[in-house]
């Protein structure tokens, strides 16, 4: 597998994710390409294309065998956080330009990042040339995890404070600091570690304050807090 130089003819545009029940459908537009490389990352664990290809080759990836497959998974990292699929353009076109991620590959509670690359298979050299995107926003989309925090308050007599009880359901694969709680009167966010997930936390807050939970700026693509 090789990374080709940038070529306007081999760009992915308007990548869209539609969820219908348990199905996750991907649609995109393109001009040219014989194959498409679809990479599924667990949220926040994206790797560079070069590292990915290196990993696949280390794993004994054979381009000819990969292209002979039929839209199936051609690679999965050891920790299962990165999965790579290869599908033929003809098949994509036949399926009305929609490709469905196999349900088993998407687990609840884990945010995903999906990138699609156009590729061309050179039969003579048996090499798959992958074309990098001009900008990530064109060929990358996210499947965020919906988070529903539970926030209650306990008043304290003769106190200028009240206790906020915060509960966030356990999230598999949660990264430290992806979510934070924000106290409006303090004006600061407090990042939440993984060990706080599924726990009922007690936080002393000023009496007039209100607490909300939000995704950290760099994780907004991965977590969607309900009510945010």
């Amino acid at each position: 597998m090789e990374i080709a130089g940038f070529d306007r003819e081999y760009q992915i545009e308007d990548l869209t994710i539609r969820r219908a029940g348990r199905e996750t459908n991907l649609e995109w537009r393109y001009k040219r390409g014989t194959h498409f490389l679809v990479v599924l990352y667990d949220g926040g664990r994206q790797a560079e294309l070069t590292d990915l290809i290196y990993g696949m080759e280390q794993n004994g990836m054979d381009d000819a065998a990969a292209v002979a497959g039929d839209g199936g998974k051609i690679y999965m990292s050891a920790d299962e956080t990165v999965k790579v699929f290869l599908l033929r353009e003809t098949r994509f076109a036949k399926s009305s330009y929609v490709w469905t991620i196999p349900a088993a590959e998407i687990r609840r509670g884990i945010p995903y990042e999906i990138s699609v690359f156009a590729a061309v298979y050179d039969k003579l050299c048996t090499v798959l040339h992958i074309y990098p995107a001009s900008a990530p926003e064109n060929n990358t989309q996210y499947i965020p995890v919906s988070v529903r925090p539970e926030i209650r308050y306990k008043r304290q007599i003769f106190s200028r404070e009240k206790i906020c009880v915060l509960h966030i359901p356990y999230l598999q694969g949660y990264m430290d600091g992806a979510l934070e709680y924000y106290i409006d009167t303090v004006g600061m966010g407090y990042p939440l570690p993984a060990s706080c997930m599924g726990r009922y936390l007690a936080i002393a807050v000023p009496k007039a304050a209100s607490v909300c939970v939000r995704a950290a700026d760099h994780c907004k693509k991965y977590y969607r807090v309900q009510g945010e």
Binding site: G177, V186, M188, Y190, P193, A194
Partner: protein, 648 residues
């Protein structure tokens, strides 16, 4: 080539200082005037570069010299090209401006311009003085001489038409052979000029002196000064023209000057040496560790005062305050209440989630903030600049040189681990956590700061060492150049060395004086050092002694001698310079001495002494030279056996 580059610094410094000193040696324009309208005609290109020496000498001594005319005639493939001399731009350099017309027209126009001047500018307009100068190695020299023979005919020049042939008797580019060929041609023409109407006076001035010395590029100006002196002698009222003009002549020339070069060299050398000695003796002994800590602002915690300020301004202000840490999450309400009641919370009492939350907050809001700053190249460059400036301000050069011996000790000192300031134990848990976070951030910060400081300190010591080498090299180059260019007698060496030492002493008696600091700055590159020393030198030569004229300076320097001893000294110097300095080297003697002139300022005691001597008026004459920095002696020779002259 490498040697020439390495020689540049001290040599250039000496040259600049010499130029400064020479500016004080000039005088106002003299009281003489040119008797006749005079046109100086430079034939060819080789003599052009030296016209400045000639013109300057005439203008210093003749009040009306600016009305003289200068013409340059060059032969080219198309014929003749003429130019007139003009004053040049800011530095006063002379320039040649093309004149239209033939040489005859150009010369005629020049003569006409002078004749049209108001009467009184030239006392006698009956005659035109024409001075021709040509190098014997000029291509087409014969053609130039033929032109000379025609120019001026019809004009009343008589014995005021003079041709100065600048002879090259060296073998360089066959100068001697070319000179011989031209001489033979000219001599033939002179023999043909039976009526002696066209040839005028011929002066043979060689670069090869009678006793064997050759005037190189650095001394050939003396021959042009000699020409100017002859023009002065022949064109002023007092001198009998017969003593200067007629036939084929040559001259011997001696110049005794105020030893400006030697004075500059000795003064500069002594200044450099004395300044260095005084700078070194200012910083004797080692600096104690305590002193170093104090100077560098190293605190008890092993932090630096300047770094603490940066940390406070750029980091601590961005940290969440301690009060915000009381809103960390507890594992339960009971845990929270317990912590609040106790006012403090021990690490072991913190639940896992609180510990993790605190760890995460500490990283994101404290240590990552510090890391972002130390990853910012602009911030780090600014910090480096601060450190460098601190070192420059803290350690003058003399001290910096000595610090090299303590370099390892100082580096160890700089790298000592940051200690806490004892604030980790606090009365509330939020204050404790805050102090812990600040300390963690500071450790990361100081790791970088200390690395930077050590690097900059090492560079600083190296810079100091290199500066020392630069200074030493400069000093040596001045010394070397002095050996080559200036002959220094003991009286000059003693007198001006003492003068320089006294000057430095006087300056340093004022503790606020910044002379040494301005010179000994480790940041100085070569040009900066030269400029700094040149500035100090300029201040040194403000003293009166450096502005005295030739006699006064000699009188003060040689105050141990009586007046007659001093006159004898000057006379001996002149004679020494005059012996064998006839501007014509020949296997056989071909010329007889006819006259002697002393060019000396009439206010000089030496002039009065000469007037009292036997032979004044007969054997020698005086000319009032408008310079107070020298005495010149010229002997005129008549060539009596021209047929025996061989220049090759």
């Amino acid at each position: 080539m490498k040697n020439e580059k390495a020689y540049c610094g001290g040599r250039e410094l000496l040259q600049r200082c010499l130029e400064q000193l020479q500016r004080f040696q000039g005088g106002k324009t003299g009281d003489h005037t040119a008797l006749y309208p005079t046109v100086l005609i430079v034939m060819g290109e080789k003599c052009r570069p030296h016209i400045g020496t000639l013109r300057d000498t005439l203008e210093q001594n003749w009040r009306n010299a600016r009305f003289l005319q200068y013409v340059n005639i060059i032969k080219n493939s198309a014929g003749w090209e003429c130019a007139g001399l003009t004053d040049g731009g800011k530095n006063g350099a002379y320039r040649w401006r093309t004149i239209q017309g033939s040489p005859v027209e150009a010369v005629s126009r020049a003569v006409t311009a002078m004749l049209q001047l108001p009467d009184g500018i030239f006392a006698n307009k009956s005659y035109i003085k024409m001075e021709f100068i040509m190098s014997a190695t000029e291509p087409d020299a014969a053609a130039y001489y033929d032109l000379f023979l025609d120019l001026g005919s019809g004009l009343p020049t008589v014995d005021l038409k003079t041709f100065y042939l600048m002879i090259d008797q060296t073998k360089q580019e066959d100068g001697n052979k070319k000179s011989e060929a031209v001489w033979q041609y000219i001599y033939k023409k002179i023999r043909e000029d039976k009526k002696k109407e066209k040839c005028g006076t011929l002066y043979l001035l060689s670069n090869f002196l009678d006793f064997g010395s050759i005037l190189g590029e650095d001394r050939i100006w003396q021959n042009y000064r000699l020409i100017a002196d002859i023009v002065l002698l022949g064109g002023s009222v007092e001198i009998n023209r017969q003593r200067i003009y007629g036939g084929i002549r040559t001259a011997a020339y001696a110049l005794v000057t105020k030893p400006v070069e030697a004075i500059a060299m000795v003064s500069l050398e002594a200044l450099l040496c004395e300044m260095r000695a005084r700078e070194e003796e200012r910083y004797e002994g080692e600096l104690s560790v305590k002193d170093i800590r104090e100077r560098l602002g190293i605190q008890a915690t092993n932090g630096f005062a300047f770094a603490e300020e940066i940390f406070r301004e750029k980091l601590e202000k961005r940290f969440p305050p301690a009060a915000a840490l009381c809103y960390l999450p507890f594992g339960s309400a009971e845990e929270l209440k317990k912590a609040r009641r106790a006012g403090r919370i021990a690490q072991e009492d913190m639940s896992a989630c609180m510990t993790d939350a605190w760890r995460l907050l500490k990283r994101r809001r404290y240590t990552d903030t510090v890391k972002a700053l130390i990853a910012d190249k602009d911030e780090i460059d600014a910090i480096r600049g601060n450190v460098r400036e601190l070192l420059y301000q803290t350690f003058p050069y003399g001290e910096a040189r000595k610090l090299a011996a303590q370099a390892d000790t100082i580096k160890k000192l700089l790298l000592e681990e940051l200690r806490t300031d004892g604030r980790l134990e606090q009365n509330t848990y939020e204050n404790s956590l805050y102090a812990e976070a600040v300390y963690a951030g500071k450790r990361i910060f100081y790791e970088k700061i200390k690395q930077i400081f050590t690097e900059e300190f090492t560079d600083f010591l190296e810079q100091a060492r290199e500066f020392g080498n630069l200074y030493e090299r400069c000093e040596n180059e001045v010394k070397q150049e002095g050996y080559v260019t200036a002959s220094v007698d003991d009286s000059i060496a003693r007198f001006y060395t003492d003068e320089a030492k006294r000057y430095v002493e006087r300056r340093l008696s004022d503790s606020r004086d910044t002379m040494l600091a301005s010179v000994f700055d480790v940041r100085h590159r070569e040009e900066d050092l030269l400029k700094a020393v040149e500035t100090v030198f300029a201040e040194l030569i403000e003293a009166d002694i450096y502005r005295y004229d030739f006699e006064k300076e000699r009188g003060i320097r040689m105050r141990n001698m009586t007046a007659s001893q001093q006159y004898a000294y000057v006379g001996a110097e002149l004679q020494k310079a005059l012996n064998g300095s006839m501007r014509l080297r020949n296997k056989f003697s071909v010329a007889d001495r006819t006259d002697c002139f002393y060019m000396v300022h009439n206010t000089a005691d030496y002039a009065k002494h000469l007037e009292q001597r036997d032979g004044y008026g007969q054997q020698f004459q005086l000319f009032d030279l408008n310079r107070t920095d020298c005495i010149e002696q010229i002997e005129i020779y008549m060539v009596t056996r021209p047929e025996s002259i061989r220049l090759d």
